[in-house]
Subunit: 317 residues, 2 copies
Amino acid sequence: MTRPSSDAPRVAAHAGAREATPEEVGAYAVQVRAAVEGELDRLVPAETVDPPSVHAAVRWSLFAPGKRFRPLLVFAAGETFGAPHAKLIRTACAFELLHTYSLVHDDLPAMDDDDLRRGRPTCHVKFGEATAILAGDALQTLAFQAIAEDESLDADLRVRLVALLARAAGTPGGMVAGQAHDLAAEARDDVDGEELERIHRRKTGALIAAAARAGALVAGADESEVEAVNAYALDLGLLFQITDDLLDVTASASDLGKTPGKDARANKATYPALYGLEAARARALEVFERACAALDTIHTPTPVLRGLARLVLERRA
Amino acid sequence: MTRPSSDAPRVAAHAGAREATPEEVGAYAVQVRAAVEGELDRLVPAETVDPPSVHAAVRWSLFAPGKRFRPLLVFAAGETFGAPHAKLIRTACAFELLHTYSLVHDDLPAMDDDDLRRGRPTCHVKFGEATAILAGDALQTLAFQAIAEDESLDADLRVRLVALLARAAGTPGGMVAGQAHDLAAEARDDVDGEELERIHRRKTGALIAAAARAGALVAGADESEVEAVNAYALDLGLLFQITDDLLDVTASASDLGKTPGKDARANKATYPALYGLEAARARALEVFERACAALDTIHTPTPVLRGLARLVLERRA
């Protein structure tokens, strides 16, 4: 698959600046988002294709306005080490497909029972539970298919990426394990900070770290570089979660695109609940600095990855 | 991965006999089942591994007594064309993992709402809906991981198998599409025979055909042989469905290991409901003969595949 270079994100990840400005990272994110949404549109059957219910539900959840954070990390990490756009786009889409499946299933009444997501009614509210379950299932399948059929990558790399995505998504070390642990912990009131981090590392951190790792693998980065990017992204995921918890306390529904204050009502263990607002903010800064320190071991400039970490630290939605 | 040859199924698929006897096919099935269950036990985390809820639920559904029909087809098709046991076992397990995920999700209250499966309470009855959703999700992930990490196969073949499994499992041509179509059709009373076959071809036929195709691909069968086995297996899947519908009318719960008579109560379109018992039986025989005719184009003897088709035609559970 080739693509005109004008489609490629314009802010090179290794532009020389130590930390890209919020505007530069924002512009980069806009470019990635447009490219990923275009490719997702090609990967997913149209709503007119039979059976329309599942395709409408898949598209409803997939094309709701989203940050496309995991695709952004695939690109930022991959381009840091020189991977071309055309070799990253499918993998970036696979991570978004996988992530979206998890949102659809996590929102179900039997799970987190959420009505609002990305500023819209959740999939089961709009299409019914059965269709939402099937849409999530189809999204997961499509994620693996997107990588397996990516003819821009050699088969060895595709196999490594499928295995990487699966381990990050599944159990015992990945997302499903984290969600199960989180649900089990909700019924308890003795969750401490260490357990909370273990939950988040699997529930969200594993997939975020795998996205960055995948980008570096596609680029053919050497092992120490892959590990450095992985360490950075694990902390970035943790940072994302801490700021998510903070926003659940401090932001409005229209800023968030989902229902705020749910954590407190659900009596969930969160950073603000465990440590208080100020200490949670201090913890966020500490994790941000550790994420950036991991990048110091990389010999290539990493302005976008650094700028992205600051954006997560300072995000308002 | 190597394995002592004493572990390998004993009835060679190309033993020369035109149609293996029910006893021979039965013995072959027992061998495959034992090998597959052993390998599944190695692939799936133990119940003691954190989080225990998901692993217990995965194992509950996976190790319920099952026919292991899809693994059996992987082996029967693969060994017909000379693939060694060690190259088939992981792929066989992947099909069983994928199939089991679909059973767990299809049984959910929002879907078919079934309480009994493989002779036991269904996953959500035993472990709750949230855990059942997650267990199904984890099983799907594990299916793709099992193939991606199968070091007995070269990467090109693994990539083809992942794509094959994904297309058979997903949408628009696979299992999820068939299940969505089936759910949508339940609300209607104008489903005819043609539409019913279209539903079954995707809901169950696609995965069954893919299992046979996968075995032939692993063996390196030539394209016409792969297509012949695929055509055979599509009809075998249809045959399985017709006899399933017949058993739902005529068998007892203890024979079936699931609740009989559900189709009629759910006002589902079935072969007996559309055509009557006798015509449905005649249709089964016709499909059996077409399945065997597809095998006539293969130059290798296919006794096990033929015997398997007869076993499905004449099954009582």
